[in-house]
Assembly symmetry: C2
């Protein structure tokens, strides 16, 4: 059976302007890999209604899950919740449970639940809340889209909480064979070996370290045995090639 | 006159699997911002032909420029050049200039220009080469798409070389007003002030530092005077609010 597929939608001008270095997608990629959900695509769009709405509609129909980050705070540039309602043609209003969560939180801080903060309780109708263990204001799930905050600490807590509830697949296993060889010297041999292992996904990533060329051969799959078999096959072919061609 | 628009297409399984932290988009975002080209969207897709082809076609028709990274090396998983040819319905073959560049480079290294390395000279017909000052194998421009390597050092050199040749706009000016206030306390006031400055793009980014809440108000625009005017207006409104409500 195939693993569930996923995509991520990052919402925020600050990434596209270069002000902020995006730091949520790496975390999400690793967590999804652990639970056997295949992350297939990431899109980053501006805080701009048509861009958000069109991206979420497209991703929602193309993949089993969509994870979004950003745009659910109290300020004028936080428009994600409104866009989700529009994308799925549903109403949006103050959610009673979300309001209660915010009331308790701001009461505890001795702060006023003013109209700006109350905006964070505006949730599309029918959506299910995602707990925010850091700063209370919840995310939410609507259809197959999980809407989360952009602040990394909050995003991470929300991802871990929502992942528990989702259907998972076979976790990805990844091993790396580090070779101190130029990528171009083994590319042909690698290509032939890869062709014999259609159930593995194999990437080749060159690097330069202390002036020396090397390449990481990264093998992904769901069978540790098959990966090991690929590695030993490739290693013995390389030894043979070294004896013949490379010195 | 409006600034040219741009998008980026990152090609590579290694980002989506979580193996590698993406590190080119931040560089590109900053460089584009300097020369007045507005980066509107980023997509990250797998080393998978249909995904690459469909993304590049869509981005190429939606934005003035597309910048791609990844997938132009010598190994089996480097399929970007073939995909670009297919996306634009043109032939792909060994490019004589690219072959000459590779021949000289590998001759200098005392290495063989084998069939795998020669693949890096396969360039869609009609494309214009982009110089690679690091490791010779060139990128290329086809229509409005600029195809570059994924290795950060090479990507950066290629971006700087190609940007010199492109039509630019008015550089973006960005200033940040750092406030040691909770975002929710000033959100309403901020919203009203923002509404008076339709030519500025204003974002609000909360942070927690040493246990204290703060918010960065980031103002982007092309007029330094207008940005300063917004900042002093907002500051005086906040002072007034502080006197009244916040202590």
């Amino acid at each position: 059976m195939k693993n569930p597929s996923a995509s991520m939608l990052v919402i925020g001008d600050e990434i596209l302007s270069g002000r902020t270095r995006e730091s949520n997608m790496h975390f999400l990629a690793i967590e999804l890999s652990k639970v056997g959900i295949d992350l297939k695509e990431i899109r980053i769009v501006k805080d701009y209604r048509p861009a958000i709405i069109s991206a979420v509609r497209k991703l929602s129909t193309s993949f089993d899950y969509v994870f979004t980050s950003g745009g659910i705070g109290p300020t004028h540039d936080d428009i994600t919740s409104e866009c989700m309602a529009e994308a799925f043609n549903c109403k949006i209003d103050i959610n009673i449970d979300a309001k209660k969560i915010l009331e308790e939180y701001y009461l505890g801080l001795g702060k006023d639940l003013n109209s700006a903060r109350l905006r964070m309780a505006r949730i599309p109708e029918g959506a299910k809340l995602i707990k925010n263990s850091v700063s209370a204001a919840p995310g939410f799930s609507i259809e197959n889209v999980h809407v989360m905050a952009g602040v990394p600490k909050i995003f991470q807590a929300m991802v871990l909480s929502i992942l528990k509830t989702l259907k998972r697949g076979r976790p990805n296993i990844s091993k790396t064979l580090k070779l101190l060889l130029a990528e171009g010297d083994i590319a042909d041999l690698l290509k032939k070996t890869v062709a014999d292992y259609p159930n593995l996904s194999i990437g080749s990533y060159p690097f330069v370290k202390s002036g020396k060329y090397g390449v990481d051969i990264v093998i992904n799959g769901d069978s540790s045995e098959l990966i090991d078999q690929f590695i030993s096959t490739l290693e013995s072919k390389i030894k043979k090639l070294k004896g013949e061609d490379l010195t």
